[in-house]
Point group: C2
Chain length 283, copies 2
């Protein structure tokens, strides 16, 4: 097995072993209509506005219950077990906490899953950017020649980023009307990763935290992506245990990033304890 | 009555008296979600993406038959008479001509009206611009804090631009979900204008072209806007006759704008003939 130490915990007393990361498919969609921007007075009416066509296409990516409408999108998602849901519930966020952290006026998403499940254990499809026509100050009375967007999916095991791209591309083609043309371009992909937390090496990590750190860890799912984790797991065919010794408040990748000595000491003790736990596992 | 000479004709042998101009309501819509752009991995799922919310709102502005879904939008539209439709048919465009002129792959719009009617005698609602999130090269994995658009309606008689703004604003408010907030801002307005072509001063203009220009004119509707026309008509309470002596190919407002001497000569003759026709009208 392999250990990657690139994750963290909410507070010193709540150590965490991350057993899942989301993957990624990132793409651009561009819709083309007239040859060039048109005078909306002289040509508006019989022209399918590409910005409207884009809007109509994007609106069909979601169902009214906020699930993703792309056929086959969820087919490969590994369902959550009861044990996994119980584990995720240990770090759930209340609506109030989520609203405070983000500033959104109300919670959105698939009501069949808790907030923490939606962040970490369920796939998403987000519009990351939109453009088209005139976005400067004041009015400009045109029908734009084209409009586009960036969209991306955060993926969970066992979704394949390239397959998801193909599904979205085919679906977009199938709902594009003959009044415009469309291009879907793949920008980047990353594989999701999921290690069952009942694996012996995972349970050994939990015992190592209990003795080395001094507190029982929770098994968490990260909403972000560390693409090399799934590369190690897939190419080497071994489980990857994500034992990070940082705090979420350490200012990762930011100015004044810091790491307390206490974390350093407890991390050493936990790593030693993990060696002992691994050695004691049945061969 | 008043004469405004700011319009044109398709060719030297097809003089035109324009008896209608479209008005305008131009506005911006902006949708707000989280306080700032969010990391889509850490927060994507329970957050209603403002770009998606904008798309959903814009998608509801139209019905599936390409008519405008804003309640009351068409209430004040003066219906076309059979005589008006017959007149418009004289300058209709074929699908092929429209496609060639604009480069669109197919015609769109309300199938109950011809192409020329859609351009000039029916109101529109166009997205003139879209923005939100990341529109530069490559991927950026955010949930944008906000997204916006510019939209405008070309209006026909007797639609009131301020009333149309209020209708759109109220409708957008009514379809905005509690997961985002929205602002609709009015940028500019212009009144539509419509003069019946069976008015004696209109028919006199037609006779003036026949004798002064040397060809019977068609009565046309312009898709664009000359806001002062409705101001003159409304404030002074008189009909405005749009007798333009230019060609559509004169390059209006463009480099190398030009105007042929023949048009100048025929225009003089037509204007003189119009004075005589007006003098001969019964008081």
């Amino acid at each position: 097995m392999a250990v990657v130490s690139d994750t963290g915990m909410r507070s010193l007393d709540e150590p965490a072993v991350m057993h899942s990361l989301r993957g990624m498919t990132y793409m651009e969609i561009e819709v083309f209509g007239p040859r060039e921007d048109l005078h909306s007075g002289l040509w508006g009416g019989p022209t399918h506005n590409p910005a409207l066509a884009l809007v109509e296409i994007l609106g069909k990516l979601y169902n009214p219950d906020n699930t993703i409408a792309v056929p086959g999108f969820y087919d490969d998602v590994v369902p959550l077990t009861e044990a996994e849901r119980a584990m995720i519930a240990k770090t759930d966020l209340s609506e109030e906490q989520f609203k405070q952290a983000t500033g959104v006026p109300a919670i959105w998403g698939d009501k069949n899953y808790t907030i923490r499940e939606r962040i970490s254990a369920r796939p998403t499809l987000d519009i990351n950017g939109l453009w088209g026509g005139w976005a400067g100050p004041g009015p400009k009375t045109i029908v734009p020649a084209k409009a586009g967007c960036k969209i991306s999916s955060r993926l969970v095991a066992n979704q394949d980023p390239n397959k998801i791209y193909e599904l979205i591309k085919d679906y977009v083609a199938s709902i594009t009307p003959p009044t415009v043309s469309v291009e879907v371009r793949l920008l980047t992909t990353g594989m999701p990763a999921l290690m069952p937390f009942d694996l012996p090496v995972m349970q050994a990590a939990a015992r190592a935290y209990a003795s080395g750190w001094g507190a029982e860890p929770v098994f968490t799912r990260g909403g972000g992506s560390i693409p090399i984790v799934s590369d190690i797991a897939d190419i080497m065919g071994i489980p990857v245990v994500l034992m990070g010794y940082g705090l979420e408040s350490d200012g990762l990748h930011s100015p004044n990033e810091h790491w307390g000595l206490e974390l350093y000491k407890r991390g050493i003790a936990t790593a030693i304890a993990y060696m002992e736990e691994l050695a004691a596992l049945p061969r």
